[in-house]
């Protein structure tokens, strides 16, 4: 059985701004690996070795990262305008001549789930997941495992299971898609519904590990879920007098200087310099080439590549994107806050700061809980930040 995989990776991910201002949602890193890499790994490990990726927004970031990906050839197909999942899938028609699976590149999925989907004997099949908040996704109704209906974002509490958006399909579906496309309908649920109406059965199988990242703060929780089950491994140079507890992963060419206290689960990338006397607490991920200077405390935080954290800083429950240069005595206070994304207001129990790429923050800056600082901002020293800072602004 020679099944191909179509991975949809064209979307921007507007609700994940400021992080998606410079990279597509699928490239946001969790535990130092882009979300898309988790998807590709699972697909590859389930035995599929032909992958077609539909790309669009900031596609070079994807192509550049995966250029040497493990002997697998990834075909890239461009979706110029993001019109909907069915439309994205349609772009791949000429590469598919049989059974295939389609999945989104921005949800973490494990290999067990994909294998289950492939092994399912039915021609059409999908993965579903039990979800405590079914109203965010398409809720599925099924009988004896056969799909009856998908209801997108229902207002009332209806079923418990949601669609993961991961399907096993036949290439006959392209005709269905084109039919709907001619009517200006581009979403996949309508097409799936029509398959049932035309008489084909769609089998539903429960997915194993599946995680969606919708808002910037989801990164903190998903990061924790992923690294929670890590085992430690040490590389680089670990100086004398460093205390490591629990699963701590340290990458090549990284130096952990004396007096540093690291409690896992913690993942530290390559080429970093930590300490002396830096404290890193669970569940924290630090990217490559980052520097955490002495006497800083980092807790429950995601730090991406090329970040510089000055001495005596305190960062907790935060996400700091690539390339930030943060001076000494930086405090991101964490606590209760209400954050606004795309018109929605969310109340959060414990949240710190979201900082976009390449900002320069000078010494002694304090940030109240729940603040978003955009990308390429410049914040001068001795400032207390009490409201969101839009991208490319200056605070003097």
């Amino acid at each position: 059985m020679f099944i191909k995989a179509v991975i949809l990776a064209a979307g921007e991910g507007k609700r994940l701004r400021p992080f998606t201002e410079t990279m597509p949602k699928v490239m946001i890193p969790v535990a130092n690996k882009p979300i898309l890499e988790y998807v590709l790994d699972s697909v590859k490990n389930s035995g599929i070795n032909e992958i077609i990726a539909v790309v669009g927004y900031k596609k070079e970031v994807i192509m550049e990262y995966f250029k040497d990906y493990s002997d697998l050839e990834i075909k890239y197909v461009l979706q110029d305008k993001q019109l909907g999942t069915a439309h994205a899938l349609l772009q791949t028609e000429k590469y598919i001549d049989d059974t295939f699976i389609v999945l989104s590149g921005d949800n973490i999925i494990d290999q067990i789930s994909i294998s289950k989907l492939i092994k399912d004997k039915n021609n059409f099949s999908m993965l579903i997941k039990e979800n405590p908040q079914p109203s965010k996704y398409g809720v599925v109704f099924f009988e004896k495992n056969l799909l009856q209906e998908i209801v997108e974002k229902p207002k009332e509490e209806v079923g418990r299971f949601i669609s993961t958006g991961i399907y096993k399909l036949q290439n006959s579906i392209f005709d269905n898609i084109k039919e709907f496309a001619s009517q200006g309908i581009f979403d996949i649920s309508s097409v799936i519904q029509s398959i049932i109406e035309k008489g084909d059965n769609i089998n539903t199988t429960a997915a194993n590990l599946w995680m969606d990242i919708v808002y910037p703060w989801d990164l903190i929780q998903v990061n924790e879920s992923i690294i929670r089950n890590n085992s430690g491994s040490l590389s680089g140079v670990i100086e004398k007098g460093v205390t490591l507890k629990g699963p701590v992963k340290v990458g090549n060419n990284t130096s952990i200087y004396s007096g540093s206290y690291i409690v896992g689960p913690v993942v530290i990338g390559e080429g970093c310099e930590i300490g002396p006397n830096a404290c890193i607490f669970p569940a924290t991920t630090i990217g490559n080439n980052s520097v955490i200077r002495p006497f800083s405390e980092i807790r429950n935080t995601v730090i991406m590549n090329d970040v510089h954290i000055g001495s005596n800083s305190f960062i907790s429950h935060s996400v700091i994107a690539h390339g930030n240069i943060i001076g000494h005595n930086f405090s991101s206070m964490s606590g209760q806050a209400t954050m606004e994304i795309d018109g929605e207001y969310k109340k959060l129990e414990t949240i710190g700061t979201m900082i976009g790429e390449n900002c320069t923050i000078e010494g002694s800056v304090i940030v109240e809980p729940g603040i978003t600082i955009g990308r390429k901002c410049k914040i001068g020293s001795i400032n207390k930040i009490i409201r969101n800072i839009p991208s490319q602004s200056k605070v003097m």
Partner: protein, 401 residues
């Protein structure tokens, strides 16, 4: 009749020991794994061998040459990219006619090999306790019906042992074989095609040992050492006690007050003692130094490594060219006496062993009085500083100070 031995694999689950050597060259009782098979095959009457090599092939070639040391002919074929067992066997088409194939990294006994030789088209099967790790074989009236892939709930304990007797018809089936779900060409798929049209007999094996993880080497080492005879070359001082069967190689010196409890094998050019204690089931390679006040037990120490002063090494594997600083000790038992869990390549693995020391790669150096924890894995070229603790998985080139 030619004997083809598959020796191309890297053996990723044997890290860190296989970063610099192919799995088949891992030493058991001071002989590479593949040599054990070679010797058993020679005892069973085979004289003409083809080794299929790829990963770190130069090690295999260097050790075996053209086979004259064993009075046999050894030829080599490079598999190149690891595309599966079917692909590997397919390459030798021009060189063989009626031939045996065996997996170089599994240990087969000479009687079993003989049985396979006697049976023109056959494969070896064996019963195991953990069939879910292997491919089950469905049989009927001593013939193969189907070979299955690994499954979670296997319906039988009989698995594919990895030894076959083919004639050149197999090549037609190999050419028709498609890639498996692993992306490789598997000989088992070719056999599944063959049995639709011809008979393929089964031979139940009695003597079979598979080594998957580094600590399995200790089990194999123990089993092979249990069969050795006493053979003392080298220079043995007075006041040396040797009990049981021990083999000491040429030019090795055993100095005063060394206490050796066999079965133990010691290679050539070693310096053992004075005042050291070597306990059963220990293999020490060539050019090693086990020094004063050292105790070594149930361990494998590869060539040119030193356990030179006041060390304890138990239930461990030490790679090539390592040096333990004075006072370095290896812990091999948990204080709560529970079974030991090892982290290898990021995966937690239950070893089901109560005692397990450290698995050390090549060129590792430890400073004085350093401590290596139970079940830790030390990658190649690591440096453990004086007084430092090493625990868990330590990746190659790391420095723990």
């Amino acid at each position: 009749m030619k004997c083809v031995i598959l020796a191309a694999g890297e053996g990723k689950r044997m890290h860190p020991l296989t970063f610099t050597r192919p799995k088949v060259m891992l030493p058991i009782a001071n002989r590479p794994l593949i040599e054990l098979n070679l010797l058993n095959a020679i005892d069973a009457g085979l004289k003409d061998f083809i080794f299929i090599i790829s990963y770190k092939s130069e090690m295999v070639r260097k050790y075996f040459g053209n086979g004259e040391k064993w009075n046999v002919k050894i030829d080599y074929i490079n598999q190149g990219k690891p595309l599966g067992t079917g692909h590997a066997i397919g390459i030798v088409e021009k060189f063989v006619d009626d031939f045996i194939v065996l997996c170089g990294d599994t240990i087969f006994g000479k009687d079993d090999i003989n049985k396979i030789i006697q049976n023109k088209t056959s494969m070896g099967l064996v019963e195991v306790e953990n069939p879910q790790e292997y491919g089950i074989v469905e049989t009927s009236e001593n013939k193969v019906i189907k070979i299955y892939e690994k499954m979670d709930s296997p319906f039988s304990n009989t698995i594919n042992a990895g030894i076959y007797h083919f004639n050149n018809k197999i090549f037609d089936y190999i050419k028709k074989t498609e890639k498996s779900s692993r992306g490789e060409y598997e000989i088992t798929d070719s056999i599944n095609m063959l049995v639709n049209e011809e008979n393929f007999n089964i031979i139940m094996l009695n003597n079979w040992r598979d080594v998957v993880y580094p600590w399995h080497l200790l089990d194999a080492n123990k089993e092979v050492l249990s069969q050795i005879d006493k053979n003392l070359e080298g220079l043995i001082d007075q006041n040396v006690t040797i009990k049981g069967n021990a083999m000491v190689g040429k030019n090795s010196k055993i100095l005063s007050n060394s206490y050796i409890e066999g079965p133990v094998v010691i290679g050539e050019n070693c310096k053992i003692g004075p005042n050291c204690y070597i306990r059963p089931y220990t293999s020490i390679g060539n050019n090693c130094h086990i020094g004063n006040a050292c105790e070594v037990k149930n361990s494998i120490i590869m060539d040119s490594s030193n356990v030179p002063h006041q060390n304890y090494v138990g239930d461990s594997v030490i790679g090539y060219n390592c040096n333990l600083g004075a006072g370095t000790k290896i812990a091999n038992l948990r204080l709560d006496k529970k079974n030991i869990v090892v982290v290898l390549n990021g995966n937690k693995i239950e070893t089901k062993r109560r005692k397990l020391g450290t698995l050390i790669g090549d060129n590792v150096q430890t400073g004085i009085n350093s401590m290596l924890n139970v079940g830790s894995i030390i990658g190649n070229d690591v440096f453990i500083g004086p007084g430092a603790h090493a625990s868990g998985e330590i990746k190659p080139k790391a420095k723990i100070l």
